[in-house]
């Protein structure tokens, strides 16, 4: 059986990631006080995307994983982006 490379993440990194996630959560709530009009969803989704990337990279260890898994996850992000673009070809031109 081939020996898999294991990466051990430090507590300090986890604590930092947690702090960043809490900050971004607070930011998500804070931005609801402002009216970005058509960009409201873009702002909310952008913050959410950053949070998702951090969770996947650190908590799910994908940062240290094989390229094939990074590609798979990247593909999913691309799919979501394309679905959003197509969806807004309706909402923005209605």
């Amino acid at each position: 059986m081939e020996q898999e490379h294991q990466h051990i993440t430090s507590y300090r990194t986890y604590a930092t990631v947690l702090a960043v996630l809490l900050f971004l959560t607070a930011l998500t709530v804070y931005v609801t006080w402002f009216d970005f009009e058509a960009l409201t969803i873009v702002v909310a989704m952008s913050i959410a995307c950053v949070k998702v990337i951090i969770v996947i990279s650190y908590f799910m260890h994908v940062k240290h994983d094989k390229l094939v898994f990074k590609l798979m996850i990247g593909m999913v992000f691309l799919l979501i982006l394309v679905i959003f673009l197509i969806l807004f070809s309706d909402y923005l031109f209605r």
């Binding site: 999913v76 799919l79 394309v82 679905i83 197509i86 969806l87 070809s89 309706d90 909402y91 923005l92 031109f93 209605r94």
Partner: protein, 533 residues
């Protein structure tokens, strides 16, 4: 008569438990696949009987046997059962489970316990779906699409039906996940991606759709429940919602779900044609890439269900363009199948007849799909019987016939026994004839303006409804003959031997039925899967 292969097979050995528990507790992919098959066949008969009830009501204009409200409930239940319990799990859960690990040279799927868990989730979803018909204030009457805002307002038992679809989605997601990992990690030594048979390839493309698209409909269905219970305004304009958003979210899943149904069907056909042509598949890589292309582009065409819903013109032409693009890889496959048969040694056996019926039906279903994908013509036939006919040509004529082809192709492998060829051919003729008589007239009256989901109609459409009724009877006779033949043969048919069709893929190199472990030794693959000399 040598029955030692059957005595040594997975049919007789499995877990430490005996009898029915030996099946219910088994993590053997073949037993799980068979349990899916028996469940699906029961639901198919139930859904078919409901379809027959609709045909009976439509035999004459006016109200005859059931009320309009009951008719609404019947077509909803027919749709929910057939879509969520029969065709979406259909080929992937049954033949994917039974054969995919064998075809890639593995002893089981990557997560056998998760596989059994998926089956139990399926059973739970099925119980909920059936219960939704009897609990609460009447069977749901929204149609299987649960369109908002009606589904958020109606007093019928929508929540249970929606919950059933939600639960069934998890079964689909977990099966997809299992198949992706299995295909990535458990292929036999030497089986590179381009030496893998095409049925597993089609399952791989399908599994990605199951994994990525199903959660969207899950959340959408929960949004319906949230709106009904907590008055959160997602879809109801009175609450600040947008009803078209529901249609977008629903079809973002449900259009790719059509490919969950049809891609494995194409995979089955791609296995059968080389075997019965005794010829290498034409354009292996073109078929692989067309499967992947269908899965990818199939994600992006959902809006063609919504041309008349009030979308922007920009979105409509964009969806129409994408719809025409997705027709290209489908057509590539048909050309490859025909080219494979060209100058082959055609062996006319029941699986091949069902396959030919598939290709014929799928061509009609596909080409009428272009009529619906085109903006101008869709406006004319939207929500008419034309759509009903197109849909059934793809799903029943396509996926359904592929299922029947698959069961006749792999029956000797699964049970170790052969069915009666003559009866199988007769049942194929009845099913194909009945199917055509049932659905083709619906194209004609659909173009003339017969709306779908109506329990009454103008007298000018009566001739077609009468044809369809008799078609349904012929079809039912064919199904009864087929079931009689297969059930009897599974117990008493002649011993089939390991390779009755002279197939080349790995399942034909092992005993029929396979042993619990499939292979005594995992094979080393040195050549492609269809190397007919």
């Amino acid at each position: 008569m040598d029955i030692s292969a059957i005595d040594n097979s997975f049919l007789k050995h499995g877990t430490k438990y005996k009898g029915i528990l030996g099946w219910l507790m088994s993590t053997d992919h073949k037993r799980i696949g068979l349990m899916y098959m028996y469940a699906i066949m029961i639901f198919f008969v139930v859904g078919g009987l409901l379809g027959g009830l609709m045909r009976l009501e439509l035999f004459r204009p006016g109200q005859d046997y059931i009320t309009a409200q009951t008719y609404n409930a019947v077509f909803t239940v027919h749709g929910v059962i057939m879509i969520f319990l029969v065709v979406i799990p259909g080929l992937a859960a049954v033949f994917g489970n039974i054969l995919m690990p064998i075809m890639i040279g593995a002893r089981d799927v990557a997560f056998p316990k998760l596989n059994l868990f998926s089956f139990y989730i399926y059973v739970l979803g099925a119980i909920l779906a059936i219960a939704s018909q009897f609990l609460g204030k009447g069977a749901p009457d929204t149609g299987w699409t649960f369109y908002a805002p009606y589904s958020t307002d109606t007093n019928t038992n929508v929540v249970a039906a929606v919950l059933a679809a939600f639960v069934l989605g998890f079964s689909s997601i977990l099966t997809g996940l299992n198949f992706i990992v299995t295909i990535h990690r458990m292929r036999a030594p030497g089986m590179t991606w381009f030496k893998m048979p095409l049925f597993p390839w089609s399952l791989y493309a399908t599994a990605w759709i199951q994994l990525l698209a199903t959660p969207i409909v899950g959340i959408t269905l929960l949004m319906i429940i949230a709106e009904r219970w907590f008055k959160i305004g997602f879809f109801d304009p009175n609450l600040g919602g947008d009803p078209i958003l529901f249609q977008h979210l629903f079809w973002i899943y449900s259009h790719p779900a059509v490919y969950v149904m049809i891609l494995p069907a194409m995979g089955v056909i791609t296995e059968i044609i080389p075997t019965f042509s005794q010829k290498r598949i034409f354009g292996y890589k073109a078929i692989v890439f067309s499967s992947v292309a269908i899965a990818a582009v199939g994600y992006l065409v959902w809006g063609h269900h919504m041309y008349t819903a009030g979308m922007s013109t920009t979105a409509r032409w964009f969806f129409s363009l994408l719809t025409f693009i997705v027709a290209v890889p489908s057509a590539i496959k048909v050309f490859n199948w025909i080219s494979t048969m060209y100058k082959g040694s055609i062996n006319l056996q029941p699986p091949f007849y069902f396959t030919m019926a598939f290709v014929f039906n799928f061509m009609i279903g596909g080409l009428t799909g272009l009529v619906l994908g085109s903006l101008a013509t869709d406006i004319h036939v939207h929500d008419t019987a034309f759509v009903v006919a197109h849909f059934h040509y793809i799903i029943f004529g396509g996926m359904g016939f592929a299922f029947l082809a698959a069961i006749h192709y792999w029956f000797p492998k699964i049970y170790g026994r052969m069915y009666n060829n003559k009866l199988a051919n007769i049942s194929c003729a009845f099913i194909f004839g009945g199917f055509t008589l049932l659905y083709f007239p619906q194209f004609i009256i659909g173009m003339q303006g017969m709306p779908r989901r109506y329990f009454d109609y103008l007298p000018q459409y009566e001739w077609a409804q009468v044809f369809s009724f008799f078609g349904a009877i012929v079809l039912a006779v064919g199904v009864i003959i087929m079931l009689f033949n297969l059930i009897k043969s599974a117990r008493k048919g002649a011993i089939a031997g390991p390779n009755p069709w002279n197939g080349k893929t790995l399942e034909w190199t092992i005993a029929s039925p396979p042993t619990v472990e499939n292979f005594e030794e995992i094979p080393v693959i040195t050549e492609g899967p269809y190397e007919y000399k």
